[in-house]
Amino acid sequence: MSGGRDGDGRDGEKPVERRIPGPRAAADDQERLPPARPVKPPAPPAPPLPHKVLTSLLGAWALAACSAEETAAVEEHLTSCAPCADEALRLRDAVGLLHTDGTLDLDPMLRSRVLEGCLGRRPARIPVPSWAAPYDAETARLDALLRDIGDAEWHAPVRLKWFEDDRQAHRRTTVAGVIGHLMAVDGLVSRALDLDDPLGKGGSHLPPTPTGRTERYWSAALRPPTRAVREPWRDQSHTLVRTVSFAGRGIAERSVPYGDFDLPLQDSLLERAFECWVHGGDIADAVDYPYEPPAAAHLHRMIDLAVRLLPATLAGRRRAGLAAPARDLVTAGSPGRSLHLEVEGRGGGDWYIALDSPAALGSPAHTVAQVALDGVEFCRLVAGHVPPAEAAAGQQGDREAIRDVLFAAASLSRL
Protein backbone atom coordinates (compact mmCIF):
# COMPACT_ATOMS: atom_id res chain seq x y z
CA MET A 1 0.00 0.00 0.00
CA SER A 2 1.26 3.34 -0.89
CA GLY A 3 -0.28 5.17 2.02
CA GLY A 4 -0.86 8.01 -0.36
CA ARG A 5 -2.97 11.05 -0.03
CA ASP A 6 -5.99 9.23 -1.31
CA GLY A 7 -6.41 7.48 2.00
CA ASP A 8 -9.29 7.78 4.35
CA GLY A 9 -8.33 10.67 6.49
CA ARG A 10 -5.27 9.33 8.29
CA ASP A 11 -2.98 11.67 6.55
CA GLY A 12 -3.05 14.29 9.22
CA GLU A 13 -4.68 16.88 6.99
CA LYS A 14 -8.13 16.11 8.24
CA PRO A 15 -9.06 16.06 11.90
CA VAL A 16 -7.98 12.91 13.63
CA GLU A 17 -11.13 11.12 14.62
CA ARG A 18 -10.13 10.43 18.11
CA ARG A 19 -12.10 11.50 21.14
CA ILE A 20 -10.42 11.69 24.42
CA PRO A 21 -12.69 11.30 27.38
CA GLY A 22 -12.93 14.37 29.55
CA PRO A 23 -10.63 14.89 32.48
CA ARG A 24 -11.13 13.18 35.78
CA ALA A 25 -12.87 15.10 38.45
CA ALA A 26 -10.58 16.46 41.08
CA ALA A 27 -9.93 14.91 44.47
CA ASP A 28 -13.00 12.84 45.10
CA ASP A 29 -15.82 11.60 43.05
CA GLN A 30 -18.13 14.46 43.77
CA GLU A 31 -17.79 15.50 40.25
CA ARG A 32 -17.50 19.04 39.27
CA LEU A 33 -18.89 17.95 35.97
CA PRO A 34 -17.08 18.96 32.87
CA PRO A 35 -19.05 21.89 31.59
CA ALA A 36 -21.56 20.99 28.97
CA ARG A 37 -20.75 22.08 25.49
CA PRO A 38 -22.95 25.03 24.58
CA VAL A 39 -25.86 23.68 22.60
CA LYS A 40 -26.53 26.66 20.43
CA PRO A 41 -23.66 27.45 18.12
CA PRO A 42 -21.98 30.66 19.22
CA ALA A 43 -23.05 33.22 16.72
CA PRO A 44 -19.77 35.01 16.13
CA PRO A 45 -17.10 32.30 16.38
CA ALA A 46 -14.62 33.32 19.06
CA PRO A 47 -11.11 33.78 17.76
CA PRO A 48 -9.37 30.42 18.29
CA LEU A 49 -6.74 30.29 21.01
CA PRO A 50 -3.20 29.99 19.68
CA HIS A 51 -1.64 26.53 19.76
CA LYS A 52 0.86 27.59 22.38
CA VAL A 53 -1.88 28.62 24.78
CA LEU A 54 -3.87 25.45 24.18
CA THR A 55 -0.79 23.37 24.90
CA SER A 56 -0.11 25.28 28.07
CA LEU A 57 -3.63 24.51 29.23
CA LEU A 58 -3.21 20.73 29.07
CA GLY A 59 -2.20 20.34 32.71
CA ALA A 60 -5.04 22.51 33.97
CA TRP A 61 -7.41 20.68 31.61
CA ALA A 62 -6.38 17.27 32.94
CA LEU A 63 -7.03 18.52 36.46
CA ALA A 64 -10.40 20.01 35.47
CA ALA A 65 -9.03 23.39 36.49
CA CYS A 66 -9.86 25.64 33.54
CA SER A 67 -12.91 27.62 32.51
CA ALA A 68 -15.74 26.15 30.46
CA GLU A 69 -14.62 28.01 27.35
CA GLU A 70 -11.04 26.86 27.74
CA THR A 71 -12.12 23.28 28.33
CA ALA A 72 -14.17 23.36 25.17
CA ALA A 73 -11.34 24.93 23.20
CA VAL A 74 -8.83 22.32 24.42
CA GLU A 75 -11.12 19.42 23.63
CA GLU A 76 -11.83 20.81 20.22
CA HIS A 77 -8.11 21.13 19.65
CA LEU A 78 -7.42 17.55 20.73
CA THR A 79 -9.47 16.23 17.87
CA SER A 80 -7.04 17.76 15.41
CA CYS A 81 -3.63 17.71 17.08
CA ALA A 82 -2.08 14.30 17.69
CA PRO A 83 0.87 15.41 19.84
CA CYS A 84 -1.42 17.35 22.17
CA ALA A 85 -3.86 14.44 22.24
CA ASP A 86 -1.06 12.10 23.32
CA GLU A 87 0.09 14.41 26.01
CA ALA A 88 -3.47 14.99 27.20
CA LEU A 89 -3.95 11.26 27.67
CA ARG A 90 -0.68 10.92 29.52
CA LEU A 91 -1.41 13.83 31.86
CA ARG A 92 -4.91 12.62 32.54
CA ASP A 93 -3.54 9.22 33.51
CA ALA A 94 -1.03 10.96 35.75
CA VAL A 95 -3.88 12.67 37.61
CA GLY A 96 -5.05 9.17 38.47
CA LEU A 97 -1.85 8.67 40.45
CA LEU A 98 -2.57 11.59 42.72
CA HIS A 99 -4.41 10.89 45.91
CA THR A 100 -5.72 12.90 48.79
CA ASP A 101 -5.10 10.59 51.70
CA GLY A 102 -1.79 12.29 52.46
CA THR A 103 1.09 10.52 54.09
CA LEU A 104 0.32 8.32 57.02
CA ASP A 105 1.60 9.44 60.34
CA LEU A 106 4.51 7.27 61.29
CA ASP A 107 4.08 5.53 64.65
CA PRO A 108 6.57 7.46 66.82
CA MET A 109 7.44 4.30 68.73
CA LEU A 110 8.53 2.58 65.53
CA ARG A 111 11.84 4.43 65.71
CA SER A 112 13.06 2.69 68.85
CA ARG A 113 11.89 -0.69 67.56
CA VAL A 114 13.69 -0.24 64.25
CA LEU A 115 16.89 1.01 65.88
CA GLU A 116 16.84 -1.81 68.41
CA GLY A 117 16.38 -4.33 65.62
CA CYS A 118 19.34 -2.88 63.74
CA LEU A 119 21.60 -2.84 66.80
CA GLY A 120 20.63 -6.43 67.51
CA ARG A 121 21.86 -7.42 64.07
CA ARG A 122 25.06 -5.42 64.28
CA PRO A 123 26.07 -3.90 67.62
CA ALA A 124 27.22 -0.29 67.47
CA ARG A 125 30.90 0.33 67.86
CA ILE A 126 30.04 3.86 69.00
CA PRO A 127 26.78 3.56 70.92
CA VAL A 128 24.57 6.40 72.11
CA PRO A 129 24.97 6.47 75.93
CA SER A 130 21.87 5.17 77.66
CA TRP A 131 21.42 8.45 79.53
CA ALA A 132 21.23 10.29 76.19
CA ALA A 133 18.57 7.94 74.80
CA PRO A 134 15.57 9.90 76.18
CA TYR A 135 16.86 13.11 74.59
CA ASP A 136 17.49 11.30 71.30
CA ALA A 137 13.99 9.80 71.33
CA GLU A 138 12.12 12.95 72.40
CA THR A 139 13.81 15.24 69.89
CA ALA A 140 13.06 12.71 67.14
CA ARG A 141 9.44 12.50 68.23
CA LEU A 142 8.99 16.26 68.24
CA ASP A 143 10.73 16.52 64.88
CA ALA A 144 8.29 14.01 63.39
CA LEU A 145 5.39 16.14 64.62
CA LEU A 146 6.96 19.25 63.13
CA ARG A 147 7.41 17.53 59.79
CA ASP A 148 3.68 16.94 59.57
CA ILE A 149 2.47 20.45 60.29
CA GLY A 150 1.82 23.11 57.65
CA ASP A 151 3.49 26.51 57.23
CA ALA A 152 0.61 28.36 58.84
CA GLU A 153 0.62 26.12 61.89
CA TRP A 154 4.12 27.27 62.77
CA HIS A 155 2.49 30.57 63.69
CA ALA A 156 -0.25 29.02 65.79
CA PRO A 157 -0.37 30.63 69.23
CA VAL A 158 1.02 28.60 72.13
CA ARG A 159 0.49 29.54 75.74
CA LEU A 160 3.45 28.40 77.81
CA LYS A 161 2.59 27.69 81.42
CA TRP A 162 4.78 27.29 84.45
CA PHE A 163 4.78 27.95 88.20
CA GLU A 164 6.59 30.94 89.56
CA ASP A 165 6.44 32.48 93.06
CA ASP A 166 3.90 29.77 93.84
CA ARG A 167 1.54 31.12 91.19
CA GLN A 168 0.71 30.04 87.68
CA ALA A 169 2.67 32.08 85.14
CA HIS A 170 1.99 32.33 81.40
CA ARG A 171 3.71 33.48 78.30
CA ARG A 172 2.37 33.64 74.76
CA THR A 173 4.45 32.63 71.80
CA THR A 174 4.04 30.58 68.63
CA VAL A 175 4.95 27.05 67.60
CA ALA A 176 8.12 28.41 65.98
CA GLY A 177 8.79 30.47 69.11
CA VAL A 178 8.67 27.30 71.23
CA ILE A 179 11.26 25.62 69.02
CA GLY A 180 13.42 28.73 69.32
CA HIS A 181 13.08 28.46 73.10
CA LEU A 182 14.12 24.78 73.07
CA MET A 183 17.06 25.59 70.82
CA ALA A 184 18.24 28.51 72.96
CA VAL A 185 18.17 26.41 76.14
CA ASP A 186 19.71 23.33 74.52
CA GLY A 187 22.48 25.79 73.72
CA LEU A 188 23.45 25.64 77.40
CA VAL A 189 24.48 22.05 76.83
CA SER A 190 26.21 22.92 73.57
CA ARG A 191 28.25 25.54 75.37
CA ALA A 192 29.24 23.11 78.09
CA LEU A 193 30.50 20.75 75.37
CA ASP A 194 32.38 23.55 73.57
CA LEU A 195 30.05 23.32 70.58
CA ASP A 196 28.63 26.26 68.64
CA ASP A 197 26.14 28.34 70.57
CA PRO A 198 22.91 28.88 68.61
CA LEU A 199 22.85 32.42 70.05
CA GLY A 200 26.24 33.03 68.48
CA LYS A 201 29.05 34.88 70.19
CA GLY A 202 26.54 37.02 72.05
CA GLY A 203 25.60 33.96 74.06
CA SER A 204 28.75 34.20 76.16
CA HIS A 205 27.80 37.64 77.52
CA LEU A 206 24.46 36.39 78.78
CA PRO A 207 23.65 35.07 82.18
CA PRO A 208 23.50 31.36 81.44
CA THR A 209 19.90 30.93 82.47
CA PRO A 210 17.20 29.28 80.38
CA THR A 211 14.97 32.33 80.69
CA GLY A 212 17.69 34.86 79.88
CA ARG A 213 18.77 32.96 76.80
CA THR A 214 15.21 32.51 75.60
CA GLU A 215 14.37 36.19 76.02
CA ARG A 216 17.53 37.07 74.13
CA TYR A 217 16.67 34.72 71.31
CA TRP A 218 13.11 36.02 71.03
CA SER A 219 14.06 39.68 71.21
CA ALA A 220 16.99 39.37 68.81
CA ALA A 221 14.77 38.05 66.01
CA LEU A 222 13.85 40.81 63.57
CA ARG A 223 10.78 38.93 62.50
CA PRO A 224 8.62 36.35 64.18
CA PRO A 225 10.33 32.98 63.85
CA THR A 226 9.11 30.65 61.09
CA ARG A 227 9.53 26.99 60.28
CA ALA A 228 13.08 27.86 59.30
CA VAL A 229 13.96 27.35 62.98
CA ARG A 230 13.36 23.61 62.69
CA GLU A 231 16.57 22.79 60.89
CA PRO A 232 19.05 24.55 63.22
CA TRP A 233 17.19 23.16 66.23
CA ARG A 234 17.37 19.64 64.78
CA ASP A 235 20.96 19.99 63.70
CA GLN A 236 21.92 21.04 67.21
CA SER A 237 20.11 18.09 68.83
CA HIS A 238 21.71 15.65 66.38
CA THR A 239 25.09 17.21 67.08
CA LEU A 240 24.62 16.87 70.83
CA VAL A 241 23.77 13.17 70.57
CA ARG A 242 26.69 12.53 68.25
CA THR A 243 29.10 14.47 70.46
CA VAL A 244 28.22 12.70 73.69
CA SER A 245 28.48 9.35 71.87
CA PHE A 246 32.09 10.03 71.00
CA ALA A 247 33.07 11.73 74.23
CA GLY A 248 33.75 8.72 76.44
CA ARG A 249 32.63 7.86 79.92
CA GLY A 250 33.77 10.88 81.89
CA ILE A 251 31.55 13.20 79.93
CA ALA A 252 28.42 12.09 81.78
CA GLU A 253 29.53 14.07 84.83
CA ARG A 254 30.60 17.21 82.96
CA SER A 255 28.94 20.16 84.66
CA VAL A 256 26.33 22.15 82.74
CA PRO A 257 25.71 25.59 84.29
CA TYR A 258 22.12 26.87 84.38
CA GLY A 259 22.91 30.12 86.16
CA ASP A 260 21.38 29.40 89.56
CA PHE A 261 22.51 25.80 89.64
CA ASP A 262 24.50 23.21 87.71
CA LEU A 263 23.53 19.77 86.49
CA PRO A 264 25.82 16.95 85.42
CA LEU A 265 25.53 16.43 81.69
CA GLN A 266 23.61 13.18 81.98
CA ASP A 267 20.94 14.87 84.09
CA SER A 268 21.00 17.94 81.92
CA LEU A 269 20.18 15.97 78.78
CA LEU A 270 17.43 14.20 80.69
CA GLU A 271 16.05 17.58 81.71
CA ARG A 272 16.22 18.68 78.07
CA ALA A 273 14.35 15.52 77.02
CA PHE A 274 11.68 16.33 79.59
CA GLU A 275 11.33 19.89 78.30
CA CYS A 276 11.20 18.63 74.74
CA TRP A 277 8.33 16.31 75.59
CA VAL A 278 6.45 18.96 77.60
CA HIS A 279 6.76 21.57 74.87
CA GLY A 280 6.03 18.97 72.20
CA GLY A 281 2.76 18.49 74.06
CA ASP A 282 2.18 22.27 74.10
CA ILE A 283 2.74 22.38 70.35
CA ALA A 284 0.56 19.35 69.71
CA ASP A 285 -2.26 20.98 71.69
CA ALA A 286 -1.87 24.18 69.68
CA VAL A 287 -2.17 22.42 66.35
CA ASP A 288 -4.60 19.77 67.54
CA TYR A 289 -2.44 16.70 67.13
CA PRO A 290 -2.20 13.74 69.48
CA TYR A 291 1.03 13.47 71.46
CA GLU A 292 1.83 10.53 73.69
CA PRO A 293 3.99 10.43 76.81
CA PRO A 294 7.56 9.12 76.43
CA ALA A 295 8.46 5.44 76.58
CA ALA A 296 8.03 4.02 80.09
CA ALA A 297 11.77 3.62 80.75
CA HIS A 298 12.42 7.21 79.71
CA LEU A 299 9.52 8.55 81.72
CA HIS A 300 10.86 6.68 84.74
CA ARG A 301 14.23 8.40 84.40
CA MET A 302 12.57 11.80 84.12
CA ILE A 303 10.52 11.22 87.26
CA ASP A 304 13.63 10.01 89.04
CA LEU A 305 15.52 13.18 88.11
CA ALA A 306 12.74 15.40 89.45
CA VAL A 307 12.63 13.38 92.67
CA ARG A 308 16.39 13.66 93.10
CA LEU A 309 16.16 17.44 92.75
CA LEU A 310 13.41 17.76 95.34
CA PRO A 311 15.38 17.65 98.67
CA ALA A 312 17.66 20.52 97.64
CA THR A 313 14.69 22.44 96.26
CA LEU A 314 12.85 21.93 99.54
CA ALA A 315 15.86 23.22 101.46
CA GLY A 316 16.02 26.29 99.24
CA ARG A 317 12.33 27.00 99.77
CA ARG A 318 12.79 26.53 103.51
CA ARG A 319 15.55 29.13 103.54
CA ALA A 320 13.25 31.48 101.64
CA GLY A 321 10.49 30.91 104.16
CA LEU A 322 8.32 29.07 101.65
CA ALA A 323 8.39 25.69 103.39
CA ALA A 324 7.98 24.57 106.99
CA PRO A 325 11.13 24.39 109.13
CA ALA A 326 13.07 21.15 109.34
CA ARG A 327 11.79 18.96 112.13
CA ASP A 328 14.39 16.34 112.63
CA LEU A 329 17.91 16.91 111.37
CA VAL A 330 20.01 13.78 111.15
CA THR A 331 23.68 13.33 110.41
CA ALA A 332 24.56 13.33 106.75
CA GLY A 333 24.00 10.02 105.04
CA SER A 334 21.56 8.75 107.66
CA PRO A 335 17.93 8.01 106.96
CA GLY A 336 15.63 10.93 107.79
CA ARG A 337 11.97 11.81 107.78
CA SER A 338 10.64 10.89 104.36
CA LEU A 339 7.71 11.21 102.03
CA HIS A 340 6.75 8.10 100.09
CA LEU A 341 5.96 9.04 96.50
CA GLU A 342 4.07 6.25 94.83
CA VAL A 343 3.90 6.81 91.10
CA GLU A 344 1.43 4.67 89.25
CA GLY A 345 1.11 3.76 85.60
CA ARG A 346 3.67 4.19 82.89
CA GLY A 347 7.18 4.90 84.19
CA GLY A 348 6.02 4.47 87.76
CA GLY A 349 7.71 3.26 90.93
CA ASP A 350 8.29 4.10 94.59
CA TRP A 351 10.49 6.91 95.79
CA TYR A 352 11.32 8.07 99.33
CA ILE A 353 12.08 11.77 99.51
CA ALA A 354 14.10 13.10 102.45
CA LEU A 355 12.16 16.01 103.90
CA ASP A 356 14.50 17.76 106.29
CA SER A 357 17.84 17.87 104.52
CA PRO A 358 19.36 17.05 101.14
CA ALA A 359 22.09 15.25 103.04
CA ALA A 360 19.68 12.78 104.63
CA LEU A 361 18.60 9.57 102.95
CA GLY A 362 15.01 8.91 102.03
CA SER A 363 13.82 5.84 103.90
CA PRO A 364 10.72 3.65 103.95
CA ALA A 365 11.14 3.18 107.69
CA HIS A 366 10.94 6.93 108.32
CA THR A 367 7.95 7.66 106.14
CA VAL A 368 5.66 10.31 107.58
CA ALA A 369 3.49 10.90 104.55
CA GLN A 370 2.47 9.22 101.34
CA VAL A 371 1.40 10.67 97.99
CA ALA A 372 0.08 8.56 95.14
CA LEU A 373 -0.32 9.85 91.63
CA ASP A 374 -0.01 8.89 88.01
CA GLY A 375 3.41 9.25 86.34
CA VAL A 376 2.24 11.61 83.62
CA GLU A 377 0.34 13.64 86.21
CA PHE A 378 3.48 13.95 88.32
CA CYS A 379 5.34 15.22 85.26
CA ARG A 380 2.58 17.74 84.57
CA LEU A 381 3.01 18.95 88.12
CA VAL A 382 6.77 19.27 87.69
CA ALA A 383 6.18 21.11 84.40
CA GLY A 384 3.93 23.60 86.17
CA HIS A 385 0.92 22.52 84.13
CA VAL A 386 -1.24 21.57 87.11
CA PRO A 387 -1.42 23.49 90.40
CA PRO A 388 0.04 21.56 93.36
CA ALA A 389 -3.24 21.76 95.23
CA GLU A 390 -4.91 19.68 92.53
CA ALA A 391 -2.11 17.28 91.76
CA ALA A 392 -2.21 14.25 94.02
CA ALA A 393 -4.82 11.57 93.70
CA GLY A 394 -4.13 10.02 97.08
CA GLN A 395 -2.59 11.62 100.18
CA GLN A 396 -1.94 10.20 103.63
CA GLY A 397 -0.06 11.44 106.69
CA ASP A 398 1.69 14.72 107.43
CA ARG A 399 -0.25 17.34 105.45
CA GLU A 400 2.46 19.96 105.82
CA ALA A 401 5.08 17.64 104.34
CA ILE A 402 2.80 16.79 101.44
CA ARG A 403 2.07 20.43 100.71
CA ASP A 404 5.77 21.34 100.84
CA VAL A 405 6.77 18.55 98.48
CA LEU A 406 4.02 19.27 95.96
CA PHE A 407 4.85 22.98 95.91
CA ALA A 408 8.56 22.22 95.62
CA ALA A 409 7.79 19.92 92.64
CA ALA A 410 5.82 22.67 90.91
CA SER A 411 8.59 25.15 91.60
CA LEU A 412 10.95 23.03 89.48
CA SER A 413 9.09 24.41 86.45
CA ARG A 414 10.13 27.54 84.60
CA LEU A 415 9.71 29.18 81.26
Binding site: A26, A27, R32, S56, L57, L58, G59, A60, A62, L63, A65, C66, S67, E87, R90, L91, D93, A94, V95, L97, L98, T100, T103, L104, L106, D107, L110, R111, R113, V114, L115, G117, C118, L119, R121, R122, P123, A124, R125, I126, P127, V128, D136, A140, D143, A144, R147, R227, R230, E231, R234, H238, V241, R242, S245
Partner: protein, 193 residues
Protein backbone atom coordinates in the same frame (compact mmCIF):
# COMPACT_ATOMS: atom_id res chain seq x y z
CA UNK B 1 14.35 17.83 55.50
CA UNK B 2 13.54 20.96 53.65
CA UNK B 3 16.56 20.91 51.38
CA UNK B 4 18.11 18.54 48.91
CA UNK B 5 20.38 15.98 50.42
CA UNK B 6 23.82 17.03 49.28
CA UNK B 7 26.06 14.21 48.10
CA UNK B 8 28.43 15.27 50.86
CA UNK B 9 25.81 14.32 53.43
CA UNK B 10 25.41 10.94 51.70
CA UNK B 11 29.12 10.15 51.77
CA UNK B 12 29.54 11.31 55.31
CA UNK B 13 26.55 9.24 56.42
CA UNK B 14 28.01 6.21 54.70
CA UNK B 15 31.32 6.67 56.56
CA UNK B 16 29.59 7.08 59.87
CA UNK B 17 27.44 3.99 59.36
CA UNK B 18 30.45 2.00 58.30
CA UNK B 19 32.25 2.96 61.45
CA UNK B 20 29.32 1.71 63.52
CA UNK B 21 28.03 4.97 64.92
CA UNK B 22 24.59 4.47 66.48
CA UNK B 23 23.89 8.21 66.38
CA UNK B 24 24.28 8.09 62.59
CA UNK B 25 21.72 5.30 62.41
CA UNK B 26 19.28 7.53 64.30
CA UNK B 27 19.90 10.40 61.89
CA UNK B 28 19.44 8.08 58.93
CA UNK B 29 16.11 6.99 60.35
CA UNK B 30 15.04 10.57 61.00
CA UNK B 31 15.74 11.52 57.43
CA UNK B 32 14.33 8.53 55.58
CA UNK B 33 11.80 6.74 57.79
CA UNK B 34 8.81 8.67 56.44
CA UNK B 35 9.88 7.92 52.87
CA UNK B 36 10.53 4.23 53.52
CA UNK B 37 7.36 3.66 55.45
CA UNK B 38 5.08 5.48 53.03
CA UNK B 39 6.66 3.75 50.01
CA UNK B 40 6.30 0.35 51.67
CA UNK B 41 2.74 1.15 52.64
CA UNK B 42 1.91 2.21 49.09
CA UNK B 43 3.30 -1.11 47.84
CA UNK B 44 1.79 -3.39 50.45
CA UNK B 45 -1.29 -1.52 51.65
CA UNK B 46 -0.80 -2.88 55.15
CA UNK B 47 0.48 -1.09 58.22
CA UNK B 48 2.21 -4.06 59.86
CA UNK B 49 3.83 -5.14 56.64
CA UNK B 50 5.07 -1.60 56.08
CA UNK B 51 6.53 -1.54 59.61
CA UNK B 52 8.25 -4.83 58.91
CA UNK B 53 9.73 -3.64 55.62
CA UNK B 54 10.89 -0.46 57.35
CA UNK B 55 12.80 -2.61 59.84
CA UNK B 56 14.29 -4.69 57.06
CA UNK B 57 15.39 -1.66 55.04
CA UNK B 58 17.16 0.04 57.94
CA UNK B 59 18.58 -3.29 59.09
CA UNK B 60 20.02 -3.86 55.64
CA UNK B 61 21.53 -0.38 55.38
CA UNK B 62 23.01 -0.62 58.87
CA UNK B 63 24.57 -4.01 58.14
CA UNK B 64 25.68 -3.18 54.60
CA UNK B 65 26.50 0.51 54.32
CA UNK B 66 29.32 -0.35 51.93
CA UNK B 67 26.88 -1.52 49.26
CA UNK B 68 25.78 2.06 48.64
CA UNK B 69 27.69 3.61 45.76
CA UNK B 70 27.41 7.42 45.74
CA UNK B 71 28.42 7.49 42.06
CA UNK B 72 25.15 5.81 41.16
CA UNK B 73 22.87 8.33 42.80
CA UNK B 74 21.76 9.69 46.12
CA UNK B 75 21.40 7.67 49.27
CA UNK B 76 17.76 8.69 49.20
CA UNK B 77 17.14 7.00 45.87
CA UNK B 78 19.15 3.96 47.00
CA UNK B 79 16.99 3.65 50.10
CA UNK B 80 13.84 4.04 47.99
CA UNK B 81 15.11 1.31 45.65
CA UNK B 82 15.81 -1.01 48.58
CA UNK B 83 12.34 -0.35 49.95
CA UNK B 84 10.83 -1.24 46.62
CA UNK B 85 12.87 -4.41 46.28
CA UNK B 86 12.07 -5.64 49.78
CA UNK B 87 8.38 -4.77 49.35
CA UNK B 88 8.20 -6.72 46.10
CA UNK B 89 9.97 -9.67 47.72
CA UNK B 90 7.42 -9.58 50.47
CA UNK B 91 4.52 -9.50 48.01
CA UNK B 92 5.94 -12.48 46.13
CA UNK B 93 6.63 -14.37 49.32
CA UNK B 94 3.08 -13.86 50.53
CA UNK B 95 1.84 -15.04 47.17
CA UNK B 96 4.06 -18.12 47.36
CA UNK B 97 2.85 -18.97 50.85
CA UNK B 98 -0.77 -18.63 49.85
CA UNK B 99 -0.43 -21.67 47.61
CA UNK B 100 -1.99 -21.52 44.19
CA UNK B 101 -4.56 -23.75 42.56
CA UNK B 102 -4.37 -21.61 39.44
CA UNK B 103 -0.68 -20.83 39.55
CA UNK B 104 -0.43 -19.07 36.21
CA UNK B 105 -3.43 -16.85 36.74
CA UNK B 106 -2.27 -15.88 40.18
CA UNK B 107 1.25 -15.17 39.06
CA UNK B 108 -0.15 -12.88 36.41
CA UNK B 109 -2.36 -11.17 38.94
CA UNK B 110 0.63 -10.70 41.23
CA UNK B 111 2.65 -9.09 38.46
CA UNK B 112 -0.21 -6.71 37.78
CA UNK B 113 -0.37 -5.85 41.41
CA UNK B 114 3.37 -5.26 41.56
CA UNK B 115 3.22 -2.97 38.55
CA UNK B 116 0.28 -1.00 39.88
CA UNK B 117 1.80 -0.64 43.31
CA UNK B 118 5.12 0.30 41.79
CA UNK B 119 3.57 3.08 39.73
CA UNK B 120 1.71 4.38 42.77
CA UNK B 121 4.81 4.28 44.97
CA UNK B 122 6.90 5.90 42.27
CA UNK B 123 4.29 8.63 41.86
CA UNK B 124 4.45 9.38 45.58
CA UNK B 125 8.21 9.53 45.35
CA UNK B 126 8.01 11.92 42.40
CA UNK B 127 5.50 14.18 44.13
CA UNK B 128 7.64 14.24 47.27
CA UNK B 129 10.77 14.99 45.27
CA UNK B 130 9.45 17.54 42.79
CA UNK B 131 10.23 21.23 43.30
CA UNK B 132 7.98 22.67 46.00
CA UNK B 133 6.29 25.25 43.69
CA UNK B 134 5.08 22.47 41.39
CA UNK B 135 3.87 20.38 44.30
CA UNK B 136 2.03 23.35 45.81
CA UNK B 137 0.25 24.06 42.51
CA UNK B 138 -0.82 20.43 42.13
CA UNK B 139 -2.10 20.32 45.69
CA UNK B 140 -4.20 23.43 45.21
CA UNK B 141 -5.69 22.23 41.94
CA UNK B 142 -6.21 18.62 42.95
CA UNK B 143 -6.77 18.54 46.71
CA UNK B 144 -8.33 21.98 47.17
CA UNK B 145 -10.00 21.83 43.76
CA UNK B 146 -9.02 25.36 42.85
CA UNK B 147 -9.07 26.25 39.16
CA UNK B 148 -5.82 27.46 37.67
CA UNK B 149 -6.71 31.15 38.06
CA UNK B 150 -7.48 30.66 41.75
CA UNK B 151 -4.33 28.57 42.06
CA UNK B 152 -2.37 31.44 40.52
CA UNK B 153 -3.93 33.92 42.94
CA UNK B 154 -3.19 31.67 45.93
CA UNK B 155 0.42 31.29 44.88
CA UNK B 156 0.84 34.91 43.86
CA UNK B 157 1.86 34.08 40.30
CA UNK B 158 0.41 34.77 36.85
CA UNK B 159 -2.14 32.51 35.21
CA UNK B 160 0.50 31.55 32.66
CA UNK B 161 2.82 30.44 35.41
CA UNK B 162 0.12 28.44 37.16
CA UNK B 163 -0.69 26.63 33.89
CA UNK B 164 2.99 25.95 33.36
CA UNK B 165 3.41 24.51 36.86
CA UNK B 166 0.38 22.26 36.59
CA UNK B 167 1.47 20.92 33.24
CA UNK B 168 5.07 20.41 34.29
CA UNK B 169 4.03 18.76 37.54
CA UNK B 170 1.82 16.29 35.70
CA UNK B 171 4.50 15.66 33.10
CA UNK B 172 6.91 14.67 35.88
CA UNK B 173 4.26 12.56 37.51
CA UNK B 174 3.38 10.80 34.27
CA UNK B 175 6.86 9.25 34.14
CA UNK B 176 5.73 7.02 37.02
CA UNK B 177 3.46 5.15 34.63
CA UNK B 178 6.09 4.70 31.99
CA UNK B 179 9.09 3.64 34.00
CA UNK B 180 11.38 1.17 32.26
CA UNK B 181 10.70 -1.66 34.69
CA UNK B 182 9.30 -2.52 38.04
CA UNK B 183 12.73 -2.83 39.60
CA UNK B 184 14.23 0.38 38.33
CA UNK B 185 15.11 3.25 40.57
CA UNK B 186 12.68 6.04 41.12
CA UNK B 187 14.20 9.02 39.35
CA UNK B 188 16.07 11.83 40.99
CA UNK B 189 16.36 12.79 44.58
CA UNK B 190 14.96 15.65 46.52
CA UNK B 191 13.21 16.83 49.63
CA UNK B 192 11.21 14.65 51.93
CA UNK B 193 7.61 15.76 52.29
Amino acid sequence: MAKDAPPRWDRRMQQRLTRGEAAALGELYDRFAALVHSQAHRMLDDEDAADQVTREVFGYVWENPGVYDPRHGSMRSWVARLTHRLSVQRLRREQGEAGAPDADGRAEELEHRVLRATAAARADYIVASMPAPLRAALELAYVQRRDYRQTAADLGVTGDEARRRLRLGLQLLSTANYGPSADSAPPGYGPTP
